[in-house]
Amino acid sequence: MAEFTYQLAEDVAKELYTRALKVLPPDVREALQRAERRETQPIAKTNLQTILKSIAVSDGQDMLVCQDTGLPVYMVKIGKRPVVDGARLAEALARGTRRATLEHPFRGSSTHPLTRENPQTSIGEGLPVIHWEFDPRAEHLEILMVPKGSGSENMSAVKMCTPAEGQAAVKRFVIDTVTGAGGNPCPPGIIGVGVGGTFELVAMLAKKAIARPVGRRNADPAFAQLEEDLEEAINSSGSGPMGLGGDVSTLAVHVEWAYTHITQNPVAVNTQCWAARRARARIRDDGQVEYGF
């Protein structure tokens, strides 16, 4: 019988990165199709049709969806089984990331922040980004891979609002950040919003929000309402696909939240492009791997 090994985790990481770059999740495709049907402005409609055409080409010819292979982000959920050594798993994810980049091959974008040297491996100090989550209800090891493109990442922002400014400041910051970004983040994509927590947690919540399947609402009705309001507000702005005007400026707004300090009111926006790529694997104790989104 097969079993979980770190070599297997490395192979899975490699497969996930390549898969994420090539196969757009069904929920993203459907959201883009709905956007194209609903759009009434001719330029915007043309651009949305170009997007759908490009997705079909990428499917038909086994090509990368976008040339920006992004920075590699892994969200690892550890349940009860298999029992894993976190340090070895982290090494395996880095090796898998490097192999995907060199063996496909595709452009590596990881760069030293001072010298700007690019090893062309997609890894380096601090990369890949790995977020760990422990869930006693999870039966298996789950790895979600998000290649985060830079056109959209560069338009992200955090603000420490005050409690006196209330929810209004949170909403306004999201609307201003997204409409101010115009066409830079390749809209219409997913707007990930973090509310509450600390300075670093609010940013991580926003990242988690862009990794949620399009349109799956927050389980809490108050935050689900916030998602709906922000989505409607952003779409009524008229900024449109690629910032060239139109009815559809975002596919969905997702909000993730946490408790915060009595003196704090933090909000974060992580913008995701229309090519909202992600790939997921569930690894069982016996080494069986199930791939999905």
Partner: protein, 195 residues
């Protein structure tokens, strides 16, 4: 929405006949370049090894594979143009470029050289790299290969587009018009949500 099917190189009257909102599809030759290429050309004063007169340039950093038969494409997509805004005037004046193809546009100051020298900005859909790559028939040549992936790439394209004329020779920028419209609408949105 007027649609133009054009062959490159482009002449000045053709480019001056284009208006914001028109759709353009290109066939023929065009050149890929980006940040480092432009710094090499204009800050480090290296003369371009190829005559760009009349051609469109594309803001790109392509993934290519070098084989015995030459350079083969893996994936060619478009990058954000605003970073390269300050090179608009020299590209048009010194190199005779007739169109800049990219995503997210150039700043308002680029409209003046476009009007003076007769050039426009053509918006491509960012991220639609798979389609873009299939519209590139061949990577004919790579100049300054030591700068790869920021060299000068000579592409032969067919039916490249649809591209949207987003900045024209008549002083109009669709980006700016949309930005102003969005800005005017924001107070109404704030009011609707009690902000």
């Amino acid at each position: 929405m007027a649609t133009h099917t054009l062959d490159t190189p482009l002449d000045e009257p053709t480019v001056r006949s284009l208006h914001v909102g028109d759709a353009v599809t290109l066939s023929g030759r065009l050149f890929g370049l980006r940040d480092k290429t432009l710094i090499h050309m204009f800050d480090e004063r290296r003369e371009a090894p190829v005559d760009l007169t009349g051609y469109p340039v594309l803001h790109t950093a392509p993934s290519l594979r070098q084989t015995d038969r030459g350079w083969e494409k893996i994936i060619v997509g478009t990058t954000t143009s605003t970073r390269m805004d300050r090179f608009t005037a020299p590209l048009l004046e010194e190199c005779g470029v007739r169109a800049i193809i990219g995503k997210a546009g150039l700043y308002q100051a680029s409209l003046e050289p476009m009007r003076r020298f007769g050039a426009c900005y053509l918006a491509i859909v960012g991220g639609a790299a798979a389609l873009e790559t299939t519209q590139i028939e061949e990577v004919e040549r790579v100049y300054w290969p030591h700068l790869h992936p920021e060299a000068i790439y000579q592409f032969r394209v067919k039916g490249f587009g649809p591209l949207i004329v987003a900045m024209d020779t008549h002083g109009r920028s669709l980006y700016e018009e949309v930005r102003q419209r969005v800005k005017r609408g924001l107070p109404g949105i704030y009011e609707r949500y009690g902000l």
